[in-house]
């Protein structure tokens, strides 16, 4: 009988290589930028947090690239600090959300019909309530501050991912390769680790990466309307909120640079999410 024919390694040109280079490049750049924000924030120490009244509301210049605010704070340093705070909030909140979503999806699909009905009800309730109102209520009830914002964002962002993961697991349970594994004596735990996880991994990664900027934006929104972080904390939401008072006076740099920085971070996460999704797909060569 003829053996299965060996195929040479695909050539290093073409769509696959171009696509991989682009996605990997974007993902790497994203990681570097985010790492830069974290390291920059740590190395800055209290720089940018101390007032310098001699340089109040100075426009961008070689001495202050992003200008200064009404207290003479360097806006570049405050933006880096703000992004670091946002990253911290986003990372923790998004991770908690993904863990809640994965746990509920597994619970719904493995613990019988009543568990499935209960999770479906919880998802419907959570999706039925206005998102921002729920965030404000939770943050307000917990007294505001970083922990309150993290918890508020975390407990309001799991429903959509739960629904996606539940559907994926239900589909996998009925697939022939899972049934074949069962007939080969594999337990549900072995199948969960061997078959379910590799299929859920891209959903979890992309879910985490997409929740991340969402959480950051909500943190900024909550802080902007006064239900989020403390005013002493130079979060992006605080910077944008403060900048409003000076926009009409022509101090455009107070809002523009923090806003653009936030946009850049969100785009970085988008690039990382796309890169990871491509890398996790064995059919990537054909895409």
């Amino acid at each position: 009988m003829s053996d299965i024919v060996d195929v040479e390694t695909p050539p290093t040109t073409g769509i696959w290589t171009t696509n991989r280079a682009a996605t990997l490049g974007a993902a790497t750049l994203g990681f570097i930028l985010l790492l830069g924000v974290a390291v920059g924030s740590l190395s800055l120490g209290s720089f940018g947090l101390d007032a310098d009244f001699a340089a109040r509301l100075a426009a961008p210049s070689p001495g202050h690239w992003f200008g200064t605010d009404q207290m003479g704070h360097d806006m570049l340093a405050r933006t880096v600090h703000g992004l670091a705070v946002s990253l911290q909030v986003g990372l923790i909140a998004a991770t908690i959300s993904v863990v809640i979503a994965a746990a509920l999806a597994l619970f719904a699909t493995t613990c019988g019909r009543w568990a499935d009905a209960l999770v479906a009800f919880l998802v419907d309730v959570a999706l039925g309530l206005p998102h921002l109102v729920l965030l404000i209520l939770i943050s307000f009830a917990l007294g505001g501050g970083t922990t309150a914002v993290i918890l508020a964002v975390a407990v309001t962002h799991w429903p959509r991912l739960t629904r996606i993961l539940r559907a994926e697991i239900l589909q996998l349970r009925q697939s022939d390769f899972v049934l074949a594994s069962r007939r080969m004596g594999k337990s549900w735990a072995e199948i969960g680790i061997g078959h379910f996880l590799p299929h859920l991994w891209p959903q979890l990664l992309v879910g985490l990466v997409l929740l991340f900027p969402h959480a950051i934006l909500h943190e900024a929104a909550l802080t902007f309307i006064g239900f989020g972080l403390e005013p002493s904390n130079p979060a992006i939401g605080i910077l944008l909120s403060d900048s409003l008072r000076f926009l009409m006076a022509g101090k455009w740099w107070l809002g523009l640079f923090p806003g653009l920085s936030l946009l850049a971070v969100v785009l970085c996460f988008d690039a990382i999410g796309n890169g990871l999704r491509v890398l996790a797909d064995p059919r990537r060569e054909q895409s």
Partner: protein
């Protein structure tokens, strides 16, 4: 002995796809099932292998229902691509249940050099051989082969069936489902005709008769 007694199955909407099928297969026997598309052959195959639970009747091996652990009845799907995890490499797929020896791999033409490839990187026929190799563990006592060699060339088809006949002589019972009447007449000890979810005819080995000589059934008449 693999025994199906009066089994019936209907999908969510509609009539029974398999209606009151009873059959028995002993070790080393090969039973052929033929029939037109949609007559319930694949559903019967899935019922025999435990992929589906019969809504009535029973499927027993040596008087016991199919339980946990390695199922003594293994099934090779007519569409191999859906029966393998697309995110697993061939090596992991083949060795999921057991580690095939060199002779088995050689007999079915599945070299170790293909172990690093993904299912979408081999052809349908090659994947079918991979699935067959995976199913032919020493613990497997009955094989349900659904259009096993429909996607391979005649030479490979002959090689696969030569290997299965050899396993059959060692005690493997085979349910061979195929549209290919000539193939079934070569490999099966007896042939059942399936029509409308029922096994309507039993043709013993060597009792081959021209289908047009005495067309007693609707199918033969239409043909």
């Amino acid at each position: 002995m693999l025994e199906a007694t009066d089994i019936g199955f209907a999908y969510r909407s509609g009539a029974e796809v398999v209606c009151g099928v009873t059959l028995a297969l002993g070790p080393g026997q090969t039973l052929g099932i033929r029939g037109p598309s949609g007559c319930g052959k694949s559903t019967l195959a899935r019922l025999l292998a435990g992929y589906l639970e019969p809504q009535r009747g029973t499927v027993h091996v040596d008087g016991e229902a199919l339980g946990k652990g390695w199922c003594p009845v293994q099934y090779v799907h007519q569409s191999a691509i859906v029966s393998v995890d697309p995110r697993w490499r061939i090596g992991r797929i083949v060795e999921e249940g057991w580690e095939p020896d060199e002779a088995s791999r050689e007999a079915l033409g599945v070299p170790r050099s293909c172990y690093d490839r993904y299912p979408h990187e081999v052809s349908g026929g090659e994947l079918q051989r991979i699935c067959l190799l995976r199913a032919l563990a020493p613990e497997t006592r009955f094989l349900v082969a659904d259009e096993l060699t429909a996607m391979v060339d005649p030479v490979t088809q002959a090689d696969i069936w030569r290997h299965l006949r050899q396993r059959s002589r060692q005690g493997l019972g085979i349910v061979a489902i195929s549209h290919d009447q000539a193939l079934l007449r070569r490999v099966a000890d007896s042939i059942h005709q399936m029509d409308g979810g029922r096994l309507t005819e039993l043709e013993p080995a060597g009792a081959a008769r021209p289908a047009f000589a005495a067309p007693g059934r609707d199918v033969a008449n239409r043909l």
